[in-house]
C-alpha cells in the first residue's frame, strides 16, 4: 500500500473508501471500538494511519472513542470515529459535548437493523431521527447519507469540510449495504481536493475570546499548546468560554447562535440529487441504499406512463424543507421508502403540509426493499389501479 493517501481507481468496500477518504481529507486521528458493520473502517485505519504519520487507537468503548476524537480535535488534529447503532447510542452523550464546545470532527454510523443489538450484519436505516435528536437539549446537526462506496469517499471528504467550516461534529449516516458493498472507487490526488482549513484566530492572544463568532456565526478555534490558555466547557458559557449557568440570557445567546450557524447556512449545506422532477406528479424521496434501490421501480413506473420523479437526500440533516414545500405545491404525492417504520417520512409529511399526500413504504430491516413494493406504492400514489 502506498505511503500517504491513495490516488487512482480501486475496487474497495464502502467502509474502506470511507477510511481512505479520511486520510485524503487530512484526518490524522482515529479512535474506535469494533462493531459490525463498521469494523472495517477501524481495521483500515489501523493499517493505514502509520502510512500517513497519524494515530489509530482502539478505545475501551464508544463513549471513550467519541471523547478521544474531541480531545484530538482540540489537540489540533482532524479526527474521526466510526460505529453502528449500539455504539451510536453510546456516542450521543459526547456528540452533545462536541456540539456545545463546537468541535470539528466526523462520526460515521454504518447503520444496521435495530432496536438494541438487532441485526448486526444486516442493513437498517433506523437511526435517522436519533441522528437528529439523539443527544439531549436543543441543537442542529449536519448528517450526510452516502448511496455507494464512491459516495462513502466523497461524502466523508464533504463531512470533514463541513465540520471545519461550521465547527461542529458532522454525521455520515451510512448503512450496512453501502458500507459492505464493493465497487469501483475513484480517489483523486489528495492535492487536488478542496479541503476547508481549520478556522484559526487572527487576533493577539490577550484579545482572543474563544466563543466570539465571525459574522457567519462560527468562532475561530485555538488549539491546546498554542498559548491561548482557553477554557472549554460543556456548560453554558459566554464568549470567553467561561461557564455562566444561572443566566437564561447567556443560554439564549449561545443556543441561538449554535442553531443559527447551521439554519442560516442551510443553502450552503444542503445537497440533493434528483431525476424527473419537472413533470412529476409523484416523487419518490429516499436516501442511502434505498435511494439506489428506488431507481429501478421509478424507471418501471415511468415505462408504465406514470409521471414519477426521484429525489435523493444527500443531506438528511438539515432537512431540505424549502424544496419539499415547493414541490408539495405542484405534485400529487410523495412516496418515501426507508428501512425503518417511518422517520424521514415525518419530515416530508411536515413540509408537505397537507398540500400533497405522503406515503411511507416501511421496512423493518435486514434487507433492502423489493423493487415491486416501491413500484406498487408509486402506482397507488399516482391513483393507478394495481395490476
Amino acid at each position: 500500500m502506498a505511503k500517504g493517501p491513495l490516488c487512482g481507481e480501486y475496487f474497495i468496500s464502502g467502509d474502506e473508501a470511507c477510511a481512505e477518504a479520511g486520510l485524503s481529507a487530512g484526518c490524522r486521528f482515529f479512535a474506535g471500538y469494533p462493531i459490525t458493520p463498521a469494523t472495517e473502517i477501524a481495521e483500515r485505519m489501523a493499517g493505514r494511519m502509520p502510512d500517513v504519520g497519524g494515530v489509530y487507537i482502539q478505545m475501551e468503548d464508544e463513549m471513550a472513542s467519541m471523547n478521544a476524537v474531541l480531545g484530538a480535535a482540540w489537540g489540533g488534529a482532524k479526527a474521526m470515529t466510526a460505529t453502528s447503532g449500539p455504539g451510536f447510542s453510546l456516542m450521543m452523550e459526547n456528540l452533545g459535548l462536541g456540539i456545545m464546545t463546537e468541535t470539528p470532527c466526523v462520526l460515521v454510523n454504518v447503520q444496521r437493523g435495530g432496536p438494541s443489538t438487532g441485526l448486526p450484519t444486516l442493513v437498517g436505516q433506523g437511526d435517522m431521527m436519533q441522528a437528529r435528536w439523539g443527544s439531549h437539549g436543543p441543537y442542529e446537526i449536519i448528517a450526510l447519507c452516502p448511496t455507494s462506496p464512491q459516495e462513502m469517499f466523497d461524502l466523508t471528504i464533504e463531512a470533514f469540510n463541513l465540520s471545519e467550516k461550521y465547527r461542529t461534529p458532522v454525521l455520515l449516516m451510512a448503512d450496512e449495504s453501502v458500507g459492505h458493498m464493493t465497487e469501483r472507487v475513484v480517489i483523486p490526488p489528495a492535492e487536488s481536493l478542496k479541503l476547508y482549513p481549520r478556522r484559526k484566530p487572527t487576533v493577539p492572544r490577550d484579545k482572543y475570546r474563544p466563543y466570539e463568532a465571525d459574522p457567519d456565526g462560527v468562532p475561530p478555534m485555538a488549539c491546546a499548546g498554542e498559548g491561548y490558555h482557553m477554557h472549554v466547557t460543556g456548560l453554558t458559557h459566554d464568549e470567553r468560554g467561561y461557564p455562566l449557568t444561572t443566566d437564561p440570557a447567556v443560554q439564549e445567546r449561545l443556543v441561538h447562535r449554535l442553531i443559527e450557524k447551521i439554519r442560516a447556512n442551510r443553502a450552503d449545506i444542503i445537497r440533493v440529487e434528483s431525476e424527473g422532477l419537472d413533470d412529476a406528479e409523484v416523487i419518490v424521496v429516499a436516501y442511502g441504499i434505498t435511494a439506489r434501490v428506488a431507481l429501478w421501480p421509478v424507471e418501471l413506473a415511468r415505462q408504465e406512463g406514470i409521471k414519477v420523479g426521484w429525489l435523493k437526500l444527500v443531506t438528511a440533516w438539515p432537512f431540505p424543507e424549502d424544496l419539499i414545500r415547493q414541490l408539495a405545491r405542484r405534485v400529487k404525492a410523495f412516496v418515501v421508502p426507508e428501512i425503518n417504520y417511518g422517520q424521514m417520512v415525518l419530515e416530508v409529511e411536515r413540509c408537505a403540509g397537507g398540500q400533497a399526500a405522503t406515503h411511507l413504504v416501511p421496512h423493518a430491516g435486514g434487507d433492502v426493499h423489493e423493487p415491486h413494493v416501491i413500484l406498487e406504492a408509486i402506482r397507488k400514489a399516482a391513483g393507478k389501479v394495481a395490476q
Binding site: 463513549m63 471513550a64 490558555h229
Partner: protein
C-alpha cells in the same frame, strides 16, 4: 465622604492588592474567582499543591493542558490559567487521551474527583492505566458526591452515612491506589491534604513520570461527608488525618484500604520503569 475620596480609597486598595499578588495568581483565572468550593474543602489545597508542583517542574505553561470531568473537583479546570477542558461526567481521561496523542508535546493532566473518575469513568480509568497512557491523573478523593449534594460514592467507606445511605453504607468501597496499581499505572501515590509538602512533591514526581501517573488526594468534605460522619468541620477532618495517617512508602496498596475509622496508609506505593504508551508506539 466625597466621590474623590472614595476613588482615592479604591485606588489605594488596588495598589495594596497589586503589591500583594499571590505567587500563584499568574496560573489562576482571576476573573473566575472566588471559587465555588465550601469552607473547609480540600480542593483549594490540592489545587495549590498542583500549581506549586507545576511551577517547580519548570514546565512551559503553554504546553500544559488540564482536563476535568464533572463535580466539585471537575471545576478545577475552570480556575487554572492554562488550556483547560471541562468535559462530560467520567470522560476526562479519554478526552485527555485524544488530546495527548494528537499533540504529544503537551503535558496533559487530568484533575477530577472519585465519583467522576472511578464510578462513571471507572472503565476509562483502568484502561488508561493498562495502556500506561502518558497522563498524570490527580484524583481528589473525598468519599462523596459533593456537587449533587452528598450521595454515596464508590469510595464511601462501609458504614458511612450519606444522603443516599442514611442508615450507613452497606457497600464495599474501592481502594483507588490499589486499583491504579493493579491496572498498570507506573506511578501511584496517596497523600491527604494535610501532607501539603509531600503531596506537592508527589505531584511533581507524577508530572515528570512517563506513562500513567496517579496521585490520590484524600480530602475533607465537611459540608456533606464530615457532618454526617462525626467530623463536623474541615479542621476536624484534618485532625482525623493527622491522628490516623501512617506514612509507608512502598507499601503494598492491597493493604491500604480506607475505612470509616482507623488508619489511612499514605505514601508512594508504585514507581516503576515500564514503557509508556507513547514509548511503545515508537519502539
Amino acid at each position: 465622604m466625597g466621590m474623590m475620596e472614595n476613588n482615592a480609597k479604591v485606588a489605594v486598595a488596588d495598589q495594596v492588592t497589586t503589591n500583594q499578588q499571590h505567587p500563584l495568581d499568574r496560573l489562576l483565572r482571576q476573573d473566575r474567582l472566588p471559587h465555588i468550593w465550601c469552607s473547609g474543602c480540600g480542593l483549594g489545597t490540592a489545587l495549590n499543591c498542583f500549581l506549586n508542583a507545576l511551577i517547580k517542574s519548570e514546565m512551559d505553561p503553554d504546553k500544559v493542558a488540564i482536563v476535568s470531568g464533572i463535580g466539585c473537583s471537575g471545576r478545577v479546570a475552570g480556575y487554572v490559567a492554562l488550556d483547560s477542558f471541562h468535559t462530560t461526567h467520567g470522560r476526562a481521561i479519554p478526552f485527555a487521551t485524544g488530546l495527548k496523542l494528537a499533540n504529544p508535546e503537551l503535558k496533559v493532566v487530568v484533575f477530577s474527583g472519585d465519583g467522576d473518575l472511578i464510578a462513571i469513568g471507572g472503565n476509562h480509568f483502568i484502561h488508561a492505566a493498562r495502556r500506561n497512557m502518558d497522563l498524570t491523573v490527580i484524583c481528589v478523593n473525598n468519599f462523596i458526591y459533593g456537587m449533587t449534594g452528598g450521595q454515596l460514592a464508590p469510595t464511601t467507606p462501609t458504614g458511612a452515612r450519606t444522603s443516599t445511605s442514611p442508615t450507613g453504607n452497606r457497600d464495599h468501597p474501592f481502594n483507588l491506589s490499589y486499583l491504579a496499581a493493579a491496572s498498570g499505572a507506573s506511578y501511584v501515590a496517596r497523600w491527604t491534604t494535610l501532607h501539603v509538602r509531600r503531596l506537592e512533591r508527589a505531584i511533581g514526581e507524577a508530572l515528570r513520570k512517563p506513562g500513567f501517573s496517579f496521585v490520590e488526594v484524600i480530602s475533607p468534605c465537611p459540608t456533606l461527608y464530615g457532618r454526617l460522619n462525626k467530623q463536623k468541620s474541615g479542621l476536624e477532618q484534618m485532625d482525623f488525618y493527622k491522628k490516623n495517617s501512617i506514612i509507608r512508602h512502598g507499601a503494598d496498596p492491597r493493604q491500604a484500604d480506607i475505612g470509616l475509622t482507623g488508619q489511612i496508609v499514605v505514601g508512594k506505593f508504585v514507581d516503576l520503569d515500564k514503557p509508556s504508551y507513547l514509548q511503545l508506539q515508537k519502539a
